[in-house]
């Protein structure tokens, strides 16, 4: 992440400084700060990390890991502000539970308990809240965990958008499991559990009122069981990520730049449903940058890759798992995408909001 910040700072001796359009001095929070792109990285690098610096935070994994009386615990928090609150394939309640479980699962943790805190906008129908709570309850029951604490606040009309949910989650990491992006090494294979882009495209097309042939549904799902099945097949897995905000691109680019390894991705090996591809073409979006809520990308030693792929494919959430690339010692810090027609490009994070193009 620090790489991007450095490349964007201006050089004091440059002739360009005096006539530069001063728009890099952003004074307010923009929606782009929440996009998962470079603006998000800058916000974290410049404001959050310096304030709270400590080793657990600075790992910048999806969860913090710490030891307590010999047990290794994973701890995570997340907030859900999605619009619309009900969408094809799920709703904000189920999404909040699954998303928090996934943040724990990507650290190899078995989820133990969750908290849910609701910020409700004045005027929200009680029936909507009931639906969301029921859905969160069912999602927790499916995983076999309990929501053990929570909170409700109400704010005036216009001060929130219907309902926001903040969560936290605690899980326990089994002995011998040690997943972290710090362990990613040249020679690792990069595995993906299934087709990308389902969630983001389902949300975007609902917002735009677009209808497509074929089903377009969020892929929201708890990944703890798939992750556990993989770890049962081999403890020798280096890192896992669920490519949510910023999509698959953000997951691999962050690991390459932070861990100073090169990553090569074969674009044609990345599974994308036809409906999602079509919708992305129409909406002018790159599926690599679109959010997922039920997929994982794993960095594993090459010798375990085939066993793990077989294992993933036997799990309902990993049926379409595939190998999409490899980690290399070449071009450290960069992800090279091999395009289907035989060209190459460096895969990079977008700057801010993904905006649809004119033509």
């Amino acid at each position: 992440m620090s790489l991007w910040v450095r490349t964007m700072s201006s050089n004091g001796s440059s002739p360009f400084v005096e006539c530069q359009v001063p728009i890099s001095n952003i004074e307010q929070i923009l929606l782009g700060h929440g996009s998962g792109g470079k603006l998000t990285s800058q916000l974290i690098e410049r404001i959050i990390l310096p304030a709270f610096c400590n080793p657990a935070l600075e790992a910048l994994d999806d969860q913090a890991v710490f030891s307590l009386d010999g047990a290794r615990l994973a701890f995570t928090t997340d907030s859900y502000v999605i619009t619309p609150i009900f969408f094809p394939g799920g709703d904000i309640g189920e999404l909040a539970v699954n998303g928090t479980i996934n943040d724990l699962a990507m650290g190899g943790a078995r989820p133990l308990v969750l908290s849910l805190a609701f910020i409700l906008e004045e005027g929200l129908p009680i029936s909507d809240l009931t639906r969301i709570v029921d859905s969160a309850k069912r999602a927790a029951e499916r995983v076999g965990i309990q929501i053990v604490t929570g909170d409700t606040k109400v704010v005036g009309r216009g001060s929130a958008d219907k309902v926001f949910i903040n969560t936290s989650g605690i899980g326990v990491i089994p002995p011998g499991v040690n997943l972290s992006s710090r362990h990613v090494r040249p020679g690792d294979a990069v595995l993906l559990s299934g087709p990308i882009g389902d969630h983001g495209v389902a949300i975007m097309s609902t917002r735009q009122g677009l209808e497509f042939e074929g089903e377009l549904m969020s892929d929201t799902a708890p990944l703890h069981d798939l992750a556990a099945a993989m770890l049962a097949a081999s403890r020798d897995i280096h890192a896992m990520r669920d490519p949510t905000r910023g999509g698959l691109a953000a997951s691999v680019v962050e690991i390459a730049s932070r861990q100073r390894v090169g990553i090569e991705i074969e674009e044609r090996s990345i599974p994308i449903r036809d409906t999602v591809r079509g919708a992305c073409e129409i909406l002018g979006l790159d599926p690599l940058l679109v959010a997922n809520e039920g997929k994982l990308v794993a960095f594993v030693p090459e010798r375990n890759a085939d066993v793990l792929l077989d294992n993933m494919r036997q799990h309902p959430l990993g049926r379409d798992a595939c190998r999409i690339g490899k980690v290399t010692a070449e071009h450290p810090g960069f992800v090279i995408l091999h395009t289907p027609v035989g060209g190459d490009r460096v895969l990079d994070l977008p700057f801010g909001e993904a905006l649809p193009r004119i033509c």
Partner: protein, 382 residues
């Protein structure tokens, strides 16, 4: 997926590259006109797959990029008014004017909305009779029919609170300006597929004849572009200068007649300022007298806005095919999509932004560490 897979097929693509290599005898400079084509070329790495003798330079066909600073400032001024709901295609929101971009204005409370169709803006106007709804009508001939339809529809349905801030530009005058400019390097064009889907290609025949340059109306997928390059090189090597249609699945010689009739009804040809290039005579559309009640420039008093461009930006040279993004010392350093100095960096389809997004500002560093992407040199981007 039909119409996508066959045009992104690796073996068809490599076959075309072999054919190009077999045909080419001497160096040629080709310009792809459209920003969408530039984006595709850089995204798929097409300029690095073709023989080194063929240089692709990137044309002025990104409507967001060439929208004048003055027009962006007008949009800013209108969108900041409390009685206005300002609507636009998404990528215009990030373009910096003299006082920042529309996204920042939105963060300060202005009601600015992204729409996918200008007709959505007319619908918003109907739903908000107490507001004035303005749509930012930007684009080449491609967006002109939909923009014209929105104005036509608003007038017919009596949606009086809908207006459009029009900054429509036209391709043929820009091509002529490039070919007339001193030091022109462009020897052939990959013509704008979607513009021609609307307008046809009859009007380009006289340009090709007059300036003795071939033009291949070309699509936007990798195989389209490679086939367009092959057709252009074949013409150049055999001394021909004709309009040929690679994109025949979408384009006819006469174009889309109902769409053209609607354009000619609602708009009339006018001089336009192009960001990075300057004023080009008869190079755009404005709203015709009959539809003046929907012309935002007439409704809102936004005449005299003084604007100032960055002094060192070379986007004007890039838009005319004289330079390429990696020729600019500011590229990827002082000038990024986050803090663009000029036209070709402001929109996703501008040549500089396309290079940046596809990581080409990192190429030199990636090369230094491994030599992996060693086909690009900092001087030419090739």
């Amino acid at each position: 997926m039909k119409y996508l897979d066959e045009y992104r097929n690796g073996s068809i693509a490599s076959n075309l590259v072999r054919k190009i290599a077999a045909v080419v005898r001497q160096p040629w400079v080709l310009m792809e006109v459209c920003g969408g084509q530039t984006h595709s070329i850089v995204r798929y790495g097409i300029d690095r797959m073709i023989p080194g003798a063929i240089e692709l330079v990137h044309g002025p066909g990104c409507p967001v990029c060439v929208t004048s600073l003055e027009m962006i400032d007008k949009a800013h001024s209108i969108a900041g008014r409390s009685e206005v709901i300002f609507t636009s295609f998404g990528d215009m929101l990030r373009v910096p004017g003299t006082r920042g971009d529309l996204l920042t204005l939105r963060s300060r409370g202005a009601d600015i909305r992204v729409v996918y169709s200008p007709l959505d803006a007319v619908r918003i106007a109907r739903q908000n009779p107490g507001k004035r709804v303005v749509f930012f009508g930007v684009g080449f001939e491609t967006t002109a029919p939909a923009n014209a339809m929105a104005i036509f529809h608003a007038k017919r349905a009596g949606v009086k609170n809908f207006s459009m801030l029009v900054s429509q530009v036209l391709v043929p005058p820009a091509m002529a300006a490039i070919l007339q400019a001193p030091g022109n390097r462009v020897q052939g064009f990959l013509g704008p597929g979607h513009v021609c889907a609307v307008m046809g290609y009859r009007e380009y025949e006289s340009v090709c004849e007059r300036y003795r340059v071939p033009m291949i109306i070309t699509g936007f997928e990798p195989v389209d572009l490679l086939e367009g390059i092959l057709m252009a090189v074949r013409q150049l090597e055999s001394g021909r200068a004709e309009v040929e249609n690679q994109y025949s699945r979408a384009v006819t010689r006469e174009g889309n007649l109902p769409a053209k009739n609607l354009i000619f009804d609602v708009f009339e040809v006018a001089d336009r300022q192009w960001r990075g290039v300057g004023s080009i005579p008869k190079s755009g559309y404005k709203i015709s007298f009959e539809y003046r009640d929907h012309d935002a420039e007439k409704i809102f008093e936004v005449d005299s806005i003084g604007t100032r461009e960055s002094c060192h930006c070379i986007s004007g040279l890039i838009l005319r095919g004289l330079k390429k993004p990696l020729d600019c010392p500011a590229f990827g350093k002082e000038c990024t999509p986050q803090s663009p100095l000029g036209a070709t960096m402001v929109s996703a389809e501008g040549a500089c932004a396309a290079y940046y997004q596809c990581g080409r500002y990192l190429d030199t560093k990636a090369n230094e560490s491994s030599g992996h992407v060693a086909t690009a040199s900092p001087e030419t981007g090739r």
